[in-house]
């Protein structure tokens, strides 16, 4: 016969890869979008100088004296002070344009602070303003202290965020990349056409997962490099360990994506299902803030989510330089979950 032999799996894999890199939108959402997100979130949460405290003083005989006392009592000049009519001051406080309003002392009453104790910025302003005024009035601090500010790479919010974004991308890429594409092939009746051939069905599903694995490599490199170049993100772990952890996560979400898509007959259906499955993980898995914020009753659920396990492992390896073996349990959990989903998907898969 001819040189082209019976070899379904490599051809199916090439089919997947070609369908991906020839689709500019797919490439953007997989690689361009996470970079964009990293940049935007990085800018939003970059380290800024300490915030200024905006103080309004009610106009009157004592107003200038209060302004002078505030300036004298704070060494770092943290206050932006405005003197306004009393009604204007209250209006600005109500709208959040200033954090606190000071009424100067009169012959009948001591100075008064108008602020909202339920607003952290307002409560903080009350403490700082009082501190400054008391010092100016002559209060001496009985205890001498020394400030030692820390803003090292590794402890910043962006450093917590980047492994989170990587994990989110591994999840989204796997779920959408496999779930959506599978249903699209079903809608086109291409799946039906494929099962009308002698193609081994398992090979088709393997090619979906395998193709996804190939897309993961540039994904990891792109996100981590963007973090390093733009924000000086510190990578403390070895690349091999990072790839091993990311692959385990990708396998898991490829399996979950395949299971979500195994029966859906319309693109709208699978889009809804994917969102339903991913939503709890976006919220609960410690993407943007630590899972320790959730109450104890939720913890079993939080810890059972595969994204939680993936993010813990990623942060341990990337930020703390942990080894793969230190993450054996979460990685085995991810692989097992992916494997179970794959087998169920193969069993329940709707081809026609």
């Amino acid at each position: 016969m001819t040189s082209r032999k019976y070899r379904p799996l490599p051809e199916l894999l090439r089919f997947r890869l070609r369908s991906f890199y020839r689709e500019p939108e797919a490439v953007f959402w997989t690689y361009g979008f996470p970079i964009l997100l990293t940049v935007l979130l990085g800018i939003a949460f970059r380290n800024r100088p300490p915030e200024r405290i905006i103080v309004d003083i009610e106009a009157g005989p004592g107003a200038e004296a209060v302004r002078g006392a505030l300036a004298a009592g704070s060494a770092d000049g943290a206050f932006d002070v405005l003197i306004n009519e009393a009604e204007v001051c209250r209006e600005r406080l109500r709208l959040g344009k200033c954090a606190i309003v000071v009424s100067p002392a009169t012959s009948e009453a001591p100075p008064a602070y108008h602020y909202d104790p339920t607003q952290p910025a307002s409560a903080y302003a009350r403490v700082r303003v009082d501190d400054a005024l008391q010092r100016s009035a002559g209060r001496a601090d009985p205890l001498a202290v020394r400030d030692a500010p820390v803003t090292e790479p590794g402890s910043r919010y962006i450093d917590f965020l980047i492994p989170g974004l990587l994990g989110m991308n591994l999840m989204g890429g796997g779920m959408w990349g496999i779930g959506y594409v599978t249903v699209d092939l079903r809608v086109r009746k291409l799946l039906k056409r494929l099962v009308a051939t002698p193609m081994p069905r398992g090979h088709f599903l393997l090619s979906m997962v395998g193709g996804r694995m190939a897309f993961v490599v540039p994904e990891i490199v792109v996100i981590l490099l963007a973090g390093v170049l733009l924000f000086g993100f510190p990578i403390r772990g070895g690349w091999v360990s990072i790839f091993v952890v990311a692959f385990c996560g990708a396998v898991c979400f490829a399996g979950v994506g395949l299971l979500v898509a195994c029966r859906a007959e319309r693109l709208e259906t699978v889009a809804g299902l994917l969102n339903v499955v991913m939503m709890p993980m976006w919220l609960l898995s410690g993407l943007f803030f630590s899972t320790s914020h959730f109450p104890d009753v939720l913890q079993p659920l939080v810890q059972a989510l595969p994204l939680t396990q993936l993010l813990n492992a990623l942060r341990a390896v990337i930020l703390e330089g942990g080894s793969v073996t230190s993450q054996t349990v979460p990685l085995l959990y991810l692989l097992a979950l992916g494997g179970v989903c794959f087998c169920l998907a193969l069993r329940w898969f709707r081809w026609t």
Binding site: E11, L12, F15, R18, R188, K192, R193, A196, T197, T352
Partner: protein, 326 residues
């Protein structure tokens, strides 16, 4: 020649259950026997059960009841070995947009242990000059030929083509017909569904006319046309109102040499054996009645006439039901 039928199915029925609706019986006891190396046509209007039938034969759809043997084997045991011997083109498959024609054939080739070189198949279906074009950039006819190519690439013994020319322009249809004829000459058994009677007449050795889930007539195109009693048709339209066309049809039906008469509004269709003998007599009779002709034509009878004669309806769904008086 091998005497085992390529396809044998008995008393096939298929019931589709639908949510909150009465179940639909797509097939109601359909029997078929396809001989080796013949081109067999399933002819019928949309919704007759043609696609359901071929998908059951292809092992894609399970029948509700009945037996199916394909190349002497039944579905459900070592299906992949049987699939190695089949070539299938489904109705309305959208192949992957961003693969080239050649890559698409290579993909399908990889599923078969033995088969043709994808380059040769491209030449067979006349797409060699489109080798490196993405599927999304091919015309409808080219895509259809590529779909047929995907069915040929495993060098099948038995080829299923479900409406291979639906929606194509006449030239594109002819080029698909050429491909099918070529496979027929190679000794491939072909099962073809169509709702175009000219396609069935040109390509098929035998035709089963399917309607409402049953085979209502079976034979060579010539045999089926012979069922009409004559193989010529005289068709004319009367420039008249009221009862005139109906009474004219009744009167003409009783004339010598006229084998059948049908009326659709003002148009009367007569089936006759010998046009030259009957036509002058028909014209004289109409003149004597005082009916005036608006239009007249004669032609060979077609499978369309057979279908209308059997069911009282036209094959294509865009025509209204015929108020038959035959």
């Amino acid at each position: 020649m091998d005497t085992t039928p390529a396809i044998l199915c008995r008393d096939l029925s298929k019931r589709y259950r639908q949510r909150q609706q009465a179940p639909v019986d797509a097939l109601r006891g359909l029997d078929l026997e396809v001989r080796p190396e013949e081109c067999f046509g399933l002819l019928g209007p949309n919704g007759a059960g043609k696609t359901t039938t071929v998908e059951i034969l292809e092992g894609i759809l399970p029948p509700t009841s009945g037996t199916v043997e394909v190349l002497g084997r039944r579905w459900g045991h070592d299906d992949r070995a049987l699939r190695q011997r089949l070539g299938i083109s489904l109705q309305e498959t959208r192949l992957a947009d961003k693969l080239t024609a050649f890559e698409t054939l290579c993909l399908f080739r990889s599923f078969y242990r033995d088969g043709s070189d994808p380059e040769e198949v491209l030449a067979t279906v006349g797409l060699s000059d489109k080798r490196d074009s993405w599927v999304v950039n091919l015309s409808g006819g080219q895509r259809q030929r590529l779909a047929v190519g995907c069915a040929l690439v495993g060098q099948p013994e038995l080829l299923f083509l479900d409406e291979p020319t639906t929606g194509l322009d006449p030239q594109a249809r002819r080029s698909v017909w050429e491909v099918i004829r070529g496979q027929r000459q190679r000794g491939c058994t072909i099962v073809l569904t169509t709702h175009y009677m000219d396609e069935a007449e040109r390509l098929c050795d035998r035709v089963a006319v399917v309607d409402e889930g049953r085979v209502i007539a079976l034979g060579t195109p010539a045999q089926l046309i012979a069922l009409l009693g004559g193989d010529h048709v005289i068709e004319f339209t009367l420039d008249a109102n009221g009862d005139a066309p109906a009474s004219a049809a009744d009167e003409l039906r009783r004339m010598d040499g006229v084998r059948g008469a049908r009326r659709t509004n003002n148009t009367i269709t007569l089936t006759v054996a010998e046009v030259h003998a009957v036509l002058p007599a028909v014209l004289r009779r109409l003149e004597a009645r005082g009916d005036r002709l608006a239009w007249l034509t004669t032609r060979h009878a077609s499978l369309e006439d057979v279908f209308v004669n059997l069911t009282g309806r036209h094959l294509s769904n865009d025509q209204q039901e015929v108020p038959t008086t035959a």
